[in-house]
């Protein structure tokens, strides 16, 4: 049983690092896209306002919430692996 606790704690810490990095990366990619959009749309208004508004929309989006899969997928994978290796 102790193995599970250790796996859960270490797994959570490692996946949190991954989650954080993926979040920062996707936000950065999104910001870059918004900046390009602003150029293409013929520079409507302030660039800063345009980008910030887009990022606020992104923050509430489904795509952003899907980053939580970083936690869900490995957990399911581990459970599946335990089943397949031992009980199939």
């Amino acid at each position: 049983m102790f193995g599970f606790v250790r796996l859960a704690v270490v797994g959570f810490l490692v996946l949190s690092v991954v989650y954080f990095i993926v979040r920062v990366y996707l936000r950065s990619v999104h910001r870059e896209e918004l900046e390009k959009d602003w150029e293409q749309a013929g520079r409507p208004g302030e660039r800063h306002d345009y980008v910030e508004k887009g990022l606020r929309e992104y923050e509430g989006s489904l795509q952003r919430k899907l980053i939580l899969l970083v936690y869900v997928v490995p957990a399911i994978l581990v459970l599946a692996l335990i089943y397949v290796t031992n009980f199939m």
Partner: protein
């Protein structure tokens, strides 16, 4: 220097390949001849190649190891160990059913005259000098030794690994483009500004100095005609 660099790179590649070869699952077609338990007294040289005591039991410097003896179709023998990798152990096979696997292996024991061929999934290496054995993960009976095995798990793992490496590279490039380069630009801009400032000051100083000298010169005697 070039040789050092290449030696280092080649060593790194060999290390990565050896790591993958040790840890990824492989499939052997074998005939199981017997199962047994031996006591292992580990040394610091071969301890590294064994897992830990069974899940839920305690670790001692010496313990019994389950072995599965088998023969390949070409007549050469191979011995597998049968150990739990545990839920928090390396490699992450999450194997906790060693005793059951031993029972399955015992069930599939067959003779040379009436062979029952099996596919043993395992990882690890057999080395006689270190007394290390590959760890059996699963056993399934097959009809003939000429069975076609597609290593799906390896295909998936290596693909995912390549994808992860690709994404890490993408992330690093994005980080460099969006965070490091602008910061460096700021620094170089700052340097440029300092430079301009120094130049301007120099110009001015030259101007002041030149004017002073010119003023001093006014006190000099004029060259006589």
């Amino acid at each position: 220097m070039r040789y050092v660099k290449w030696t280092f790179r080649i060593l790194l590649v060999i290390l990565v390949l050896a790591f993958l070869h040790y840890n990824l699952p492989q499939h052997d077609v074998v005939r199981i001849t017997s199962t047994e338990v031996i006591r292992m007294d580990f040394t610091r040289f071969n301890r590294f190649f064994f897992a830990q005591a069974d899940q839920g039991t305690t670790e001692n410097p010496t313990r019994d190891i389950r072995l599965i003896n088998a023969v390949r179709p070409n007549g050469r023998v191979i011995v597998y160990r049968n150990e739990d990798t545990g839920v928090f152990g390396w490699p992450p096979y999450f194997k906790v059913d060693s005793s059951n696997l031993q029972a399955e292996a015992a069930d599939l024991i067959s003779t040379r005259d009436n062979p029952q061929w099996t596919v043993v999934t395992h990882y690890g290496w057999r080395n006689e000098f270190l007394t290390i054995f590959p760890n059996a993960i699963a056993i399934r009976p097959v009809d003939s030794p000429d069975v076609r095995i597609i290593p799906w798990v390896n295909i998936v793992i290596l693909t995912v690994l390549a994808l992860v490496l690709f994404m890490i590279r993408r992330m690093w490039l994005q980080f460099r483009e969006r965070t490091i380069d602008p910061a460096l630009e700021n620094v170089s801009d700052a340097w440029d500004r300092v430079d301009q400032h120094a130049d301007a000051a120099g110009q001015q100083a030259r101007g002041v100095w030149a004017r002073f000298r010119a003023w001093l010169n006014t006190w000099r005697g004029k060259p006589r005609r």
